[in-house]
Amino acid sequence: MSTRDLMRVFGTIRDYRELITGLAAREIREKYVQSMAGLLWLFIYPACLLSVYLVVFGFVFKMRADMLGLDLNMSYTAYLITGYIPWLGAAESLTRAPLAVSSNSALIRQVVFPLEILPVKLVLVSLTPQLVLLVLASVYLLLDSGGRVPNLLWLTLPLLFFLEFMLLCGLVWAISAVGVFLGDIKEVVKLAVLVGPFLAPIFFSPSQLPAWAGGLIHLNPFTLLINCFRDALLYGRVAHPLSWLFVGPLCLACFWAGYGVFKRLRPGFGNLL
C-alpha cells in the first residue's frame, strides 16, 4: 500500500461520488420507506437520545460537569452529549460493518464497480443521525450555556466530521472484508460497540482514571476525536492540543491501514459471494 494507492482511493471516491451518494440516499430512504413518519425518524432517534440523557442526568441525578472534577460550569448532559456525538456514527457504522460487503452479493455479482465504495456508502449513511444529533445538541448547548454564542472552533466541525469519516472508512473496510470470510466478526463487533463508549471519555473524564488508564485510553483514536469535538462544542478553545495534533495523522493511518486490509482480502471475495 503506497501513497499512490491512497491517492487512488480518493480518486475512486471522487469518480463514483454520484453512485455513492445515490446508494446512500437510497439506503436512507429504504429504511423509512415503509413507515408513516418517514424521514422524521431520522430526527426522532437522536432527539430521544438527547432527551433521555437530559432527564436522567439533569433532572434525576442532577449531575453537573464540575462533579467530574472538570472546570466547567455546565450540566453533565452537555459534557456527555458532546462526547457522544462522534460515537453515534461510529456505533452505527461498526454494527453494520461486518455485512457491508457480503450483503451486497447480488449487486457485486452483476455489476462491475469498485467494491470499496460500499463501506464508504455505509459510513456516509451512518453519519447522518450523528449530524442530526449535532444540530440538536448545538441548540441545546446554546440554551444551556445561558446565551453563549457559538465560537470560532465550530468552523472546524466539518473537518472533524471528515476525519471521523476517514477513521470509520478504515475500520469498516477492514471489518467488512474480514466479515466476508468470518461470521464471528459480527459478534466481536457487537461486543466492541457495547464496551466502546467506556474505552473513551464519553461518560467520564480521564482525570477520574488512574494515570495508567488515562494514558491508555488516549491510544483510542475515538478519544482524540471526542476531545476535539468537546473542545469545539463545549470549551470553545483548544483544551487538548495534543489531540488536535495527532487526530489527523491517526485517522489517516486508520484509513490507510483499513484499505490495505480490504485490498489484500478482496481477491478472495469472488469465490464466496
Partner: protein, 432 residues
C-alpha cells in the same frame, strides 16, 4: 471524417487459454487461514479450462452448453465481476452486461428510481441517466407501472425493466445471460431487434442461452462449452447441431469419444453432415428413390417417392427403430417419422440386415431440404444417426410462391362472375 474508437480489424474480444479454478473451502476458517496466513487450505474446482475464442465487432456469439458447463462463469469473467486464474483476455471497448436478472433492484422503489440507480451502477453519470430515463420508460413499455414500486411487477415486467435499463448503457460489447427467457414474446422480439441494431452498428454481443433456436436465429457464431471446455466453436448452425446431437445421445460426458461406427466403404455421408452413434448397429445405405425406384436427390413436388434406410447389426440387439426427419435449411423440422409402432421383423441378431422403406408423396414446396436418418432402440441412445445427410431439392412445375413450406396442390379457377358496368337485369348466377 469520424474516427472510430478502435480499429475495425481489431477483435472486440479476444480470449486465449482462459482458465478459472475455484478454490473450494470446507469452512470460512480455511479461507481466512489461506488469505491471511498464506497457508493453502483448499481443493480446486475447474470451471473453465483453456477457453479460447475471438469476436469481431458486429458479431453475435452464442454460448451454449448444459448446466454447469461454465457459461455464466465465462460471462462473469468477461464482465469483470470475477477474476481469472490463467489466460489472456483482450477487450477493446466498453462492456455492458445483463447477467443476473432483477438483482440489485429494490422492491419498494419505483421503476424510475431503480433505473436511476442501476444506471449509476453501470458507470453512467447522473445527468446521463436522467437523460436516458424517458427512453428506458418507452422501451420497457411499462406505462404507469414505471412509477410504481417494483414489488408490484410481474417477473416479466421486472425483466423488461431490467433489460431496458441495461440496454440504455452506451457500450461496444454487450453480454447477455439468459435474461430474455422471461418477458413476453413481443418484448423478446424488441430485445432481439435492439441487439440486432446494436450489432449492425458494430457492437459485439455474447449471448448465453439454452435455447438453440435463439442461438441459431440470432448468432453468427457459437461456442459449445461442456465442463469448462470448448467442445465446438464455429458457425452457430453447426455448433447447435453438435450440441443437439450430444444432448440427445446422452454423450455429453464422453468428451473425445465421438467416433463414428466403423465403415469400410466409401464415406457414407457428405462433408458438412454429422454422424454419431454407439455403433451397435450401422446405417450402411440410405437415400431417396423416385416413383420409378431410381436413386435421386431431386423430386417434383406432388410426386410419389420413398425414403429408405438399410441397417446392419454389429451385435445382437433388443430393439430397432428407424427414423426420418426432413428439415429446412434454417433448421425447422417440417416432417418427421419413425417406426416406433412397427417392431422390426425377425430376430435382431448380429450381422442381420434390415431395410425400412417409407413411401411418401412429396407435398413440400419447391426448395432445399435436409434429410436426417437414424436407427435407435426404444428409450436408448442412437445406434447410428446421420444428420443432414442428404440435400433434397424439391421442384415444381406449378408456381408456388418462394418461401412456401408446403404444396397444398393448388388448382386455380379464374372466372368472371359479373359485369361491373351492367345493371340489375342480370343476376350473378353464372357460377362455373
Amino acid at each position: 471524417m469520424t474516427r472510430p474508437t478502435h480499429k475495425p480489424s481489431a477483435p472486440a474480444i479476444q480470449v486465449r487459454g482462459l482458465t478459472k479454478t475455484f478454490k473450494v473451502y470446507d469452512g470460512p476458517l480455511d479461507v481466512f487461514r489461506e488469505h491471511v496466513l498464506k497457508k493453502p487450505s483448499h481443493q480446486l474446482f475447474t470451471a473453465l479450462e483453456g477457453v479460447s475464442f475471438s469476436l469481431e465487432p458486429g458479431e453475435v456469439l452464442g454460448v451454449i452448453g448444459p448446466n454447469g458447463a461454465g457459461k455464466s462463469t465465462l460471462l462473469r469473467i468477461l464482465a469483470g465481476t470475477l477474476d481469472r486464474t490463467a489466460g489472456e483476455i483482450l477487450i477493446s471497448g466498453k462492456v455492458s452486461s445483463i447477467l443476473e436478472l432483477g438483482t440489485g433492484f429494490h422492491p419498494d422503489f419505483s421503476g424510475r428510481e431503480n433505473v436511476y440507480l442501476a444506471g449509476l451502477c453501470h458507470g453512467m453519470k447522473a445527468a446521463e441517466v436522467r437523460a436516458k430515463i424517458p427512453w428506458i420508460k418507452e422501451f420497457s413499455a411499462l406505462g404507469d407501472f414505471f412509477e410504481k414500486p417494483v414489488r408490484t411487477y410481474s417477473s416479466g415486467m421486472q425483466a423488461r425493466l431490467f433489460f431496458s435499463a441495461a440496454a440504455a448503457v452506451e457500450a461496444d460489447i454487450l453480454l447477455v445471460d439468459e435474461a430474455l427467457s422471461v418477458g413476453d414474446a413481443r418484448f423478446q422480439r424488441k430485445c432481439f431487434a435492439r441487439m440486432e441494431r446494436f450489432r449492425d452498428k458494430g457492437g459485439a454481443v455474447i449471448l448465453v442461452s439454452h435455447d438453440i433456436n435463439l442461438v441459431m436465429g440470432l448468432c453468427d457464431k457459437a461456442l459449445l462449452l461442456e465442463k469448462g471446455r470448448v467442445i465446438s466453436r464455429g458457425p452457430s448452425r453447426d455448433v447447435s447441431r453438435i450440441y443437439f446431437r450430444r444432448v440427445h445421445s446422452g454423450q455429453e460426458n464422453r468428451v473425445g469419444e465421438l467416433e463414428p461406427p466403423a465403415s469400410g466403404e466409401k464415406p457414407l455421408i457428405p462433408a458438412g453432415s454429422e454422424r454419431y452413434g454407439n455403433g451397435r448397429a450401422e446405417i450402411v445405405d440410405y437415400g431417396l428413390k423416385d416413383h420409378h425406384g431410381r436413386m435421386t436427390e431431386t423430386i417434383t413436388s406432388g410426386q410419389q417417392c420413398h425414403l429408405f434406410i438399410k441397417a446392419l447389426l454389429h451385435q445382437d440387439i433388443e430393439d430397432l427403430r428407424f427414423s426420418y426427419i426432413i428439415s429446412t435449411v434454417s433448421g425447422i423440422n417440417v416432417f418427421g417419422f419413425n417406426t416406433a409402432d412397427h417392431p422390426a421383423p425377425g430376430p435382431l441378431v448380429k450381422d442381420a440386415v434390415l431395410e425400412a422403406r417409407l413411401k411418401l408423396r412429396m407435398w413440400l414446396a419447391p426448395g432445399e431440404y435436409f434429410l436426417t436418418f437414424g436407427i435407435w432402440p426404444k428409450d436408448g441412445p442412437h445406434y447410428d444417426r446421420l444428420i443432414d445427410a442428404l440435400l433434397l431439392r424439391v421442384v415444381s412445375e406449378k408456381y408456388i410462391a418462394p418461401g412456401s413450406l408446403v404444396n397444398l396442390e393448388p388448382e386455380l379457377e379464374l372466372v368472371r362472375v359479373g359485369k361491373t358496368d351492367s345493371g340489375a337485369g342480370e343476376d350473378s348466377g353464372g357460377r362455373a
